[in-house]
């Protein structure tokens, strides 16, 4: 009689293991960035600030991830002995090939987002949405949700959807929550133009 209950318990445990361990592992496809980049070295050693590369243009538009021309300003020749530095110069700078960065925070095509209005007008810091990304020494793997096709950073790191920080998740609910919290209009055409 007692073994009969164990069969039920075994089914329960197996499925809990699959659901909480195997499923998240299978759900996300991990891809390494084409090149390792240290924000820490650029900030601390090279004495650069975020705005040096992630700047606003004169007309107020945000440049996003810098293009190769920005890297070329300093990296026309190999600096130091790092293999990643060598890869940057030989494979991208000298061949004039843009680095195909995998963008953690890339929003879908149907979403309009203005960095200018959030950073300049609302005074929201970069960390608020992107976390302490600017102090990292290396780039973590890009995780792509196999079903939705979006970055894991959009849906949030936790499989439960529970946020651990303000930067944990960038989906529509996260935007709406923040807009509601600050009493900002939430109409559809605000983001889906």
């Amino acid at each position: 009689m007692k073994f009969q209950f164990l069969w039920f318990l075994a089914g329960l445990c197996v499925m809990l293991f699959v659901g909480w361990v195997v499923f998240p592992y299978l759900l996300y496809e991990r891809k390494e960035e084409p090149l390792q980049f240290s924000h820490k070295i650029h900030n601390e050693t090279a004495g650069m600030s975020c705005e040096n590369c992630h700047a606003f243009k004169d007309d107020g538009r945000f440049t996003g991830i810098p293009t190769l021309s920005k890297c070329r300003e300093c990296h026309t020749d190999i600096i130091g002995t790092s293999p990643q530095e060598k890869k940057l110069v030989e494979e991208y700078v000298k061949q004039n090939r843009e680095i195909p960065w995998l963008v953690y925070a890339r929003q879908p095509q149907n979403t309009y987002f203005s960095h200018a209005s959030h950073v300049k007008l609302a005074n929201i810091s970069c960390d608020h949405c992107h976390g302490p990304h600017g102090t990292t020494d290396s780039l973590r793997a890009y995780e792509r949700n196999r079903i939705s096709g979006y970055s894991r950073d959009i849906g949030g790191s936790s499989i439960t959807g529970i946020k651990s920080a303000s930067w944990d998740g960038m989906n529509m609910n996260d935007c709406a929550d923040c807009h509601n919290k600050h009493n900002i209009p939430n109409t559809c055409l605000k983001c889906h133009k």
């Binding site: 009969q4 069969w7 089914g11 329960l12 659901g19 759900l27």
Partner: protein, 692 residues
């Protein structure tokens, strides 16, 4: 160890419970919803550099300034230009998503021949030259058989319009038919001599008496509708809405006067009766005595009985209208008969509102810079004056939409062997009635100049400049008319591309040194005199700017005739139909009827309002109760002309005694049921209802 079936079931039961305690179902459901938005066949715009370009919307004559956000070179979103003097940053829901029209499923990129047979139609693709051959053959046949060749222009005043007129002037039996705001055409034709383009000056009117015009529903330009609503709420403007339905405009009006459908003419003539009797008019008409004898039968007591309103309402409305300056009476040109339009326009003439600020503005023609047309009088026509069954070839320019031509009227005027050629980017309802469809570019693909909207006091000119190339096989309407003219042996038609011709027009405007020019790039409005060269003017116009004429003071008018269109208004006929259950067209509160909508309209309208649905008959619950009809039941509508099945729907906004049937879902079935007047406008038709 033997595993029993019961143990397997227990394991499965445990797994099922465990599954519910894991994120699998919830996460998979959430992600699948996103996955459905990213199917591989959904086109994705390429990523690229973001830029903003300026142009002017060409979907309607409002000519709203547009700021176009482009990724790469592809337009991805549209917004208004705040400083634009005409549009003031406003765009209508159609305008916001106008860049999607390029991808409309009904888009055509090759000429089509459409064969109508037994109520259905079949289309076959053909080459441009084949289409041209067929049409020019029909034109030659028209010449032999002395039949009319008509060019119908839904948006007169453009450079293309001038070429259409040149074409019509030179082909044998050619007629040029323009369709602007029809009620203003009616007013213009009451004068013995042409007085120039007319427009409603709603901005400056203190009192607006509207006969069923959906003023709060984007009847006019979006900016003016918004401005009008603002002024009304501030108490600066008064709106009296005379309408059978409790429409959105009726709800927002200062006063809603519900009249029986089809009695607009009687109400207007009742007002005219009061104005003349109380000597509130200073009009000096040649036929005033004749007009007085007509309106003498429209005393407030008789009209009150016909329209279903009180006598005091008519008298009070007439007094408010004639004593408030400035005031204007407006009527919808699409759904009303010519008599009703004339009766309402007479009110403007009686109290001297024509040529006044806040009344009916008399505007100046905008020069085209193209060769004058000699026999303008003989070719300019309206559809009503053309004999029935006389048109052999009818070319309809629907490239910019806005053509208000009734299909019923079209069929009435077409000869038995007549053909309709539609210049249209889409194959929607009207082109389906055509025999040939010549594909034209859509907004953002072609250059065109835009004439003055009907609700502005001054003439204006804007240019919609292309930002993307048009697909192969699509031809500009003026290229088509030039080629057809060449095939028909018409020699004196302007050559050159649309850009060359419009540039010439801009040069002429610059040369006249009148009016002001808005430069959208700088947000500045400056006098034409202050511009340095034609190029300055051209550059301002092609980048979302506009030219606005200086207002002209009209000191004298030619004589006019008040009774010109009233011969068929009969008070006795109106009285006889007052107790019958009548069938009237009902405008659905939906936008789906316009098939050129973008799927993104679901962001601004309810999806239920965007989907097509079956034929519905709307009844007031009181009427439905009397005849024993329940909400949702199937009924048969029986008139003297036929019968059709519909779903009964209760709607308290419908007046008792009326059956409102959507004229958008199955227009041909509905029209077949209705009685028409001589002008092919639908009349309220007596109807009987039976349950299925």
């Amino acid at each position: 160890m033997n595993i029993t079936r019961r143990e397997i079931l227990r394991f499965v039961g445990g797994s099922a419970l465990g599954l519910l305690l894991t994120p699998i179902p919830w996460k998979a459901l959430d992600d699948s919803a996103v996955w459905t938005q990213n199917w591989p066949w959904i086109p994705e715009p390429r990523r690229g550099d973001i830029s903003f370009k300026l142009t002017t919307c060409s979907l309607c004559p409002a000519a709203c300034g547009m700021r176009v956000r482009c990724v790469g070179n592809q337009p991805v979103s549209l917004s208004g230009i705040q400083t634009h003097p005409l549009s003031q940053g406003a765009l209508c829901p159609m305008g916001i998503v106008a860049h999607h029209l390029r991808y409309h499923p009904a888009r055509v990129s090759r000429p089509l021949r459409i064969i109508q047979k037994n109520g259905s139609s079949r289309s076959t693709a053909m080459t441009f030259d084949e289409a041209l051959d067929d049409i020019s053959f029909a034109m030659k046949d028209a010449r032999v058989s002395s039949q009319t060749i008509a060019v119908v222009d839904g948006r007169p005043g453009r450079t293309a319009s001038h070429l259409f007129r040149q074409f019509a002037a030179q082909v044998p039996y050619g007629r040029y038919i323009s369709y602007s705001e029809v009620s203003l055409d009616v007013l213009g034709s009451m004068f013995e001599k042409p007085i120039g383009p007319l427009g409603y000056d709603l901005d400056h009117a203190q009192v607006i008496v509207s006969f069923g015009v959906p003023l709060c529903d984007c009847w006019g330009t979006p900016a003016r509708t918004a401005r009008y609503l603002g002024k009304k709420f501030e108490g600066k403007q008064k709106l009296l809405q005379i309408e059978a339905y409790r429409s959105r405009t009726s709800e927002m009006a200062d006063r809603w006067i519900p009249i029986r459908p089809g009695t607009d003419a009687a109400f207007a003539l009742g007002m005219a009766h009061v104005i003349l009797k109380e000597k509130l008019s200073q009009a000096k008409s040649k036929d005033l005595s004749e007009f007085e004898s007509i309106v003498s039968t429209f005393s407030p007591s008789v009209v009150a009985e016909v329209c279903g309103v009180s006598e005091d309402t008519i008298v009070e409305t007439a007094r408010v209208f004639s004593m408030s300056k400035p005031s204007v009476a407006v009527i919808d040109g699409l759904t009303n008969s010519r008599e009703a339009q004339a009766a309402v326009m007479i009110l403007n003439l009686l109290v001297g509102n024509v040529g006044w600020k806040g009344g009916v503005a008399v505007r100046r023609e905008v020069p085209t810079g193209l060769a004058d047309i000699k026999n303008t009088e003989s070719i300019n026509s309206n559809m009503y004056s053309i004999p029935d069954h006389s048109i052999r070839v009818m070319l309809i320019d629907e490239s910019l939409s806005g053509c208000q031509l009734s299909d019923t009227l079209l069929q009435k005027k077409l000869a038995e062997n007549g053909i309709v050629v539609s210049l249209s980017p889409f194959v929607t309802e009207r082109p389906f009635c055509a025999q040939y469809v010549i594909p034209t570019p859509v907004f953002l693909e072609s250059l065109t100049d835009l004439s003055s909207p009907h609700d502005s006091e001054s003439s204006s000119m804007s240019i919609s400049f292309p930002l993307v190339p048009s697909p192969t096989g699509v031809v500009d309407p003026i290229y088509f008319i030039q080629r057809l003219a060449s095939a028909a042996g018409v020699v004196n038609i302007e050559s050159g591309t649309m850009e060359e011709l419009v540039k010439r027009r801009a040069g002429v405007l610059y040369g006249e040194k009148r009016g002001t020019v808005f430069n959208a790039s700088t947000g500045q409005l400056s006098g034409v005199r202050n511009l340095l060269s034609t190029d300055d003017m051209w550059n301002a116009l092609i980048t979302g700017g506009c030219w606005i004429d200086s207002a002209e003071i009209v000191k004298s008018f030619p004589a006019f005739r008040l009774s010109a269109f009233l011969s068929k208004v009969d008070i006795n006929k109106l009285q006889s139909g007052k107790n019958q259950l009548v069938l009237v067209p009902f405008i659905e509160k939906t936008v789906y009827s316009n098939s050129e909508i973008s799927p993104l309209m679901s962001k601004v309208g309810q999806e239920s309002g965007l989907r097509p649905f079956g034929c519905r008959a709307y009844l007031n619950p009181t009427t439905a109760e009397v005849i024993g009809i329940h909400e949702g039941c199937r009924i048969v509508l029986q008139t003297n002309k036929g019968s059709m099945e519909a779903e009964a729907r209760y709607d308290a906004s419908i007046m008792p005694g009326i059956v409102g049937v959507s004229n958008t879902t199955h227009p041909q079935n509905f029209i077949a049921l209705c009685e028409m007047n001589d002008n092919a406008a639908i009349c309220p038709t007596p109807v009987k209802i039976q349950k299925v």
